[in-house]
Symmetry: C2
Amino acid sequence: MTPPLGETIREHFERQILAGTLAPGARLPTEQQIMAQFGCSRMTVSKALTALATAGLIERRKRAGTFVARPRVHSMVLEVPDLAALVAARGQAYRYRLDQRDTVTSGEGHLAGHPALHVSGVHFADDRAMAVEDRLVSLAAVPDIAAADLNAEAPGTWLLHHVPWTEADSRITALGASPAEALLLGVEAGTPCLCVERRTWRGTDPITHVRQVFRGDSYELVAHFGPGAS
Amino acid sequence: MTPPLGETIREHFERQILAGTLAPGARLPTEQQIMAQFGCSRMTVSKALTALATAGLIERRKRAGTFVARPRVHSMVLEVPDLAALVAARGQAYRYRLDQRDTVTSGEGHLAGHPALHVSGVHFADDRAMAVEDRLVSLAAVPDIAAADLNAEAPGTWLLHHVPWTEADSRITALGASPAEALLLGVEAGTPCLCVERRTWRGTDPITHVRQVFRGDSYELVAHFGPGAS
DNA sequence: CCGCCAATAATGTATAGACATTATCGAAAC
DNA sequence: GTTTCGATAATGTCTATACATTATTGGCGG
């Protein structure tokens, strides 16, 4: 019934910070004062403040005290959901069509020199083309993919379920559909599309490099920043 | 010199999880076993595991034990730099031109019912139009902006320096430039552009709503995920 | 007036123990 | 067999204390 005391303390300051009662840069009471105020031990206070610090709401400086963090502007959380799950969540039928599959050894880029499986295909939502995808998967890092049925499961989904990755980056750009892409997407050449290029690694080993071109009118990326980070 | 013991324990399991040695669903040793293994008290182990649980790497279940979390929807960190700083970092000259400034009370959306300052203008890099921006700023939440010189400092930059926000979301889409936008950007209508729409709040009070349309050929968003996320 | 240094006030980490909570498991009762 | 229910093994929280670390502050000497 009673919420944990540490949680109570955490929420107490979180509320004040979010409401602006405690402005950025303001100093919080010392741990001693807080433990007197709430009648608990210092460890409990410390854990509550540690949680707030981890969430980026406060900054703790030895000898100086604890302060409300100035909002850090530059990073937001970009959700990168699995396409199959995303489409399913919208109540549409998802399908992936594999168009091409071969083995290559590219000479440049992220997977340079590694033998790789090259697959390209189209993602459909309710039988409407949503995105074209062109992907390289390192056969050294992911030998199992050679045996996978990539018609039944899109390569991205397969990788998500079978291969943990530790590092990734994405470039997001807008471009006009090339004639080939336009044909696959069922739009006119030059139609604005969202292009996501992503590279992933496991440790230092490259896993995959994918380029997805989405119909601009049927896909959007959303990013979020906030204390409700959960 | 010696790293904190709790940190050592955290890294020990983090490495094993990221490397795949501990596969998703696998069970970690009990806290008792870990404290025996590292020769420390249970609180230390508990704090290390709590940190991993907060980061979403493990899941702890009473009576049952601690398990490697199944890979969730992966989220990445999207860098959203201040445009002025971004352009400066590229070694180009940044300029903002304010085209329009008035006061409105919109009837719908994020700022519905709030009197707001409406500003629109163009961002330039080396005198080349990079993006058009259309922005509403709540006058209730940010009264000071009425007195700001938004020719000297772009509204986004001004807000960044003067107003803390606690929550934000962004929608990223691709679209063709409208005739008006095309004129301002110096491109042909229909040219693919990257559109970022962002809303920010402080607590539950809306602060600003901005729509930025970037030339597709001169801007890209970059997102990153990795243990270097600290 | 300036620079150095030591006292100090704050957080950082850790210990050893206690009791609370809860899902699971196994045995007893039906 | 099936259900119920209590024992139990694990995590969850908290206390009281100790010592480490570090940035600030203020005093002392040049």
